[in-house]
Homo-oligomer: 193 residues x 2
């Protein structure tokens, strides 16, 4: 079992204090595609048990899957409106798809599927996201099995290596940087905002 990273308590506090805003669980995840940045909103799905790894879900057909295969680095920017603070979390991304060979990871993918709402599950049966819309192509009407993830469903994991926490309440602002060292411990440093 990994020790909780020192930034986890600050992030838990932010999640708790912003819990009345459903979109406080939305953050923006940047990846690299052909030396250009890509950026989109993702929904935080909690931490992987006994770890500092953040969970998201995504569609196998989305562009980020290809981007991550070529360059696993991700930069999450997470702004909490109520408490006016920002977490920037960088690390390696990992996609757990239907073809995953590690049975533990496959199990985690199933658990993540079970945790989705019915509406969220149905999106994985929609036509290819980002492709031109075709009038003829309707969403699949097949009933969606609550217990078996659809093929397009992927679990997306972010293992943080660097975290930057900025608090905008008060003057001057407060900023703290956290870096994962080679010995798997976190170095913490107060920074100029």
């Amino acid at each position: 079992m990994t020790e909780l990273a020192p930034w986890r308590s600050a992030l838990s506090r932010a999640l708790h204090r912003n819990r009345s805003l459903v979109y406080a669980r939305y953050a923006q995840l940047a990846t690299v595609q052909a030396n250009r940045p890509a950026n989109r909103t993702v929904v935080f799905r909690g931490f992987l048990e006994d770890s500092n790894t953040l969970k998201f879900v995504t569609d196998r057909r989305s562009k980020k899957i290809e981007q991550i295969a070529k360059n696993p680095w991700g930069a999450l920017c997470w702004y909490f409106p109520k408490t006016r603070e920002q977490f920037r979390i960088s690390g390696e991304l990992m996609v757990v798809s239907a073809t995953e060979e590690d049975s533990d990871l496959l199990h985690l993918r199933e658990v993540a599927w079970l945790a989705l709402s019915e509406g969220a599950r149905s999106q994985f049966a929609w036509p290819h996201p980002g492709q031109p819309k075709s009038e003829s192509e309707a969403s699949s009407q097949e009933a969606i099995d609550r217990t078996t993830p659809l093929e397009a469903f992927c679990l997306l994991l972010l293992a943080p290596q660097e975290v930057d926490h900025l608090e905008l309440k008060g003057q001057p602002h407060q900023r703290c940087g956290y870096t994962l060292e080679a010995n798997d411990t976190w170095k913490q440093q107060v920074l100029n905002p």
Copy 2:
């Protein structure tokens, strides 16, 4: 004078409908540094007059300045909580600093400085952002001239080349892509969400 891009009306509508939330003007800007993504929150400062170019401000000492010098590509992800819609805006970034030689751009930098609040202006006199905090190093106490930008102050411009508009209200979601063509016109296409 540039014609308003077709996505401008949708963005104006989103800004208007979310105007009660001050943070609806905050968006996340991704850049690339050494083949890794970087991502941070920025404040939208309006459009450059008679253009589709978005304005932001930044500190010359922030890491993004160096990143943009090496790779001008930026990806803005802008989520509007009230109307549940997302704009992803990609294009080239341009930094207008104190050493800018184009007098028109220098003038725009001054105008952007004048438009800042006193609190926002004072941040450009703070110690080097992102550096370890030193107890001895205090914020500059010199009076800040309202009319002359501090040396660290930069105007940051994003000239969009691709826009992706996703609306999450309703099922299924609505998505539209806009691409700037070689002849400076925008191609618009309805996409699968």
